[in-house]
Amino acid sequence: MFESLSLLSLQQYWWIIISLLGSLLVFLFFVQGGQTLIYRLGKTEIERKMIVNSLGRKWEFTFTTLVTFGGAFFASFPLFYSTSFGGAYWVWMIILFAFIIQAIAYEYRTKPNNFLGQKTYEVFLFINGAVGTILIGVAVSTFFTGSEFSVDKLNLTNIFGTGSTTISAWQGPAHGLEAALNIQNLSLGLAVFFLARVLGILYLDNDIDDKNINQRVRRQLIINGIPFVVFFLLFTGLLLTKEGFAVVPQTGVDPLFWTVQMEPYKYLNNFLAMPVVLILFLVGVLAVLWGVAGTIIGKCTKGIWVAGSGAVFTVFALFLVAGFNNTAFYPSTYDLNSSLTIMNSSSSHFTLTAMSYVSLMVPFVLAYIVIAWRAINNKKITTTEFDKEFHSY
């Protein structure tokens, strides 16, 4: 089935999967967002316990999606893995660090004799929620703004000279942290952070049945919704007006060696060239706003599903704009022709085919996640939740 597809089709198929995983990850950041609001939404110990336990039953989904996002990127576009992870070392290391401390925080938070104390584990959850989302937003924004690196596979053969044998060399001054100084990167980072908080509020509103917590939702949605809209509009405005990194198709030349050049309004052009993506993007943005506004104005607690779907659509569209329509998805501002495209950074036809068969399992995975999710969420969390429960955080 997949064998007969062209290499380009497989590359596109895998870019779609990466985009899907990325967008699901942003939706699942409701866990991270919620973690930064434990003390905002919960004023008493039992309220905070409800919040932590509500999020704690879902944190592994976000974590696993992040790990799978990394694994899938490695399998399908290994040159990105080696160039970005090995180059923007500090950004990724700090992100990873933020996730290490999350993994134990839930389980150890209220356990007796837990060495660091409950408060420390709550700080870990906050750091994960804030640093993780902002830096992942910043890192993804470099898909549009570029980074300083060079890629030369010939380096591998540097055995007689004194030159490095490393294929990918980072040229940025701070191994990736310099990206946080760019206004567009920072605005996406903050937009993701506030979006995560908004989604977190909506999720908790949906999962917890408690008068006090539910009352605080509206105020917090306004406080976090406004900066989200501001930063998101700033990012989108800059994106649509900036020049972008265009791949120049050359007939008779292997797409591995196609060159890259700057093109004015590249990302706006991409939206216009792919109207489906544009519609997806607009529907997504409206859905996020609708989910938030509906919860603020009405008494509906289903906002998470509307705004969450919207977040998935929007992020999915952004990823497609970054990689499709002959665009370099991981551009180098140091050397344009070192930029990574889905054509020059992917795995081989064989590997992409094999992995495509594996991807057929995804619907089954989604199906059992839905079954297990519903089994756990069929009753809302209340203050009496923990009376007879075997396990709680």
């Binding site: 694994g71 080696s82 090995g86 150890y108 356990k111 594996v358 059992y368 089994a375 075997f390």
Partner: protein, 527 residues
């Protein structure tokens, strides 16, 4: 060699070893305990006896504490392939990335979805759905181990791929050859079994503590019965798969094999060294001769190594010196080239790639096709390209291509001796618990408790042998560790090394304290 920052290589290796060893403290317990809990819960569901539910919940609580920190250390490992081994990630990412992605899609979601049901579903789903969830967590955990071990086995014995000079990397050509390579199968089965044995020792040891304290004695004895039976079956399997692994290693990684047996010079009728004390690591003399260390003391069994390896007491096994200097193998009739010759061929392979790339850039189609044809020529690939990794070395320090012999030797022997001890412990514990005399055997209960640290040492020793024993290769013969690193400053990696060391140690202390507190609460205690 001057173009390699060896300090960077060392710190990068140190960081990876640190993460992997911390990760491996928690993973084997997860692998085995998940099944032990699933068995206990099955007994509960079949008998309806509430005692088994209490036992299941007690071990599940310890499982959860251990599981969390296993995840924390695991995420780093996955990303470190990119952050610290960027050349590696490109050179073999086409093969290596796939198992990591499959691990995520197939296994991690299974684990993380059903672990929520396992912990929060007792009052929310039916008994049978809960039991199914527990089994699925166990299967998910073991499946994730399958894929990462397949990936590791491929690094030890690279199969099912071909080099593509256009992309300058190895590309997968046979998925099944990678999945079902004998190295992968042995590695998976042996590592699984080691996890099961570790978990069984953990359950037996902690239950022994309850018996010593005269608390929850019925629960403890029931746990010992389940864990001892599980441990005996796993131990037999562990020894069997270990034996198979060693035989396979003798074929595909003869240097690692020679190092773990500390076999300096090849011969026929090789004795097996049961216990020995090695004097030093092999070195290179100023005139380029390899000088090996000798034993200060050893006890050996005549002909045994030849017999165990090739089922023939007269079989020839090459030693470290033969592998470095080249030798004629009387068993296969093959002449195996020396390391100097392999280095020469490796340099030829690398230079051919360079010429190909330069021809491509210059648009010289004729030259490009001439060099490109070599990569399609199976004879050239077999005689020259297979030594690609040797090309990164010069032949002035051949001892640098020999793994750490004392470390390989000791970790191997420690692992083997301890595995015998574990099997004996399970058998003795089972006999006495069934005769209901275990509580009187206080010394045995103490032995069971003190075996817990020993099983962790044995488990770590296994990985030290597997990873240190294959040095200097990150991919056997194809890519040396020093050519695999990312371009970073050594000081950068030093900072992250210490950051991880402090974090992991802190979390480990927290884990131990929480675990001990939960154990002390006993099997009837709640949260």
């Amino acid at each position: 060699m001057e173009n390699f920052d060896l300090t960077l290589v060392d710190w990068s290796r140190g960081q990876f070893a640190l993460t992997a060893m911390f990760h491996w403290i928690f993973v084997p317990l997860t692998l085995g305990l998940a099944f032990i809990i699933a068995i206990m819960e099955t007994i509960y569901v079949r008998t309806g006896d509430e005692k088994w539910k209490t036992i299941t919940k007690f071990w599940a609580k310890l499982f959860g504490i251990n599981f969390a920190i296993g995840i924390a250390t695991g995420i780093i490992l996955e990303f470190e392939f990119g952050t610290n081994w960027s050349n590696y990630s490109w050179f073999v990412g086409d093969i290596f990335g796939a198992p990591l992605a499959i691990e995520g899609i197939m296994a991690f979601f299974l684990e993380s979805t059903f672990i929520a049901v396992m912990f929060f579903g007792w009052n929310k789903v039916s008994k049978r759905f809960h039991l199914l969830s527990t089994w699925l967590v166990a299967i998910g955990a073991n499946l994730s181990a399958l894929w990462i071990l397949v990936a590791n086995a491929w690094m030890q014995n690279p199969v099912g791929m071909a080099f593509n000079p256009d992309t300058a990397r190895n590309e997968m050509v046979d998925f099944w050859a990678i999945l079902f390579s004998p190295t992968a199968i042995n590695k998976f089965l042996h590592t699984m079994a080691s996890g099961y044995v570790l978990a069984a020792v953990f359950v037996v040891g902690i239950s022994a503590w309850f018996l010593l304290k005269k608390r929850n004695t019925v629960f403890a004895k029931q746990s010992i019965v389940v864990a001892s039976v599980f441990g005996i079956v796993s131990s037999v399997f562990l020894i069997f798969t270990g034996d198979e692994s060693a035989r396979e290693m003798a074929k595909v990684q003869p240097m690692k094999f020679a190092a773990m047996e500390a076999l300096a010079e090849g011969r026929t009728n090789v004795p097996l060294i049961a216990i020995g004390f090695l004097e030093q690591q092999p070195t290179t003399t100023p005139d380029g001769e390899l000088q090996h260390g000798d034993f200060a003391f050893k006890i050996e069994i005549p002909n045994m190594l030849s017999y165990m390896t090739f089922l023939d007491p007269n079989a020839y096994i090459p030693g470290i010196k033969d592998l470095v200097n080249g030798y004629h193998n009387p068993r296969t009739g093959q002449d195996v080239p020396s390391y100097s010759e392999k280095i020469r061929r490796g340099k030829e392979a690398i230079t051919t790639l360079k010429m190909y790339k330069e021809a491509l850039r210059a648009g010289d189609t004729e030259k490009k096709e001439e060099y490109g044809a070599l990569f399609d020529d199976p004879e050239w690939v077999e005689s020259t390209f297979r030594y690609f990794g040797f090309g990164y070395y010069n032949d002035d320090n051949l001892a640098g291509l020999v793994p750490n012999v004392p470390l390989s030797f000791y970790s191997f022997h420690l692992m083997v001796i301890l595995s015998g001890h574990f099997l004996a412990l399970f058998v003795v514990m089972l006999i006495f618990v069934l005769r209901n005399r275990l509580e009187k055997m206080r010394w045995l209960l103490y032995v069971a408790i003190w075996t817990i640290p020993l099983v962790y040492i044995a488990s770590q020793a296994g990985w030290i042998l597997a990873e240190m024993g294959r040095q200097p290769w990150v991919i056997q013969d194809l890519m040396p560790t020093l050519a695999a690193v990312s371009q970073l400053d050594a000081s950068t990696v030093q900072v992250t090394f210490w950051l991880f060391a402090v974090t992991f140690t802190t979390l480990f202390i927290a884990e131990i304290k929480i675990m001990i507190t939960q154990i002390k609460k006993g099997m009837t205690g709640g949260q």
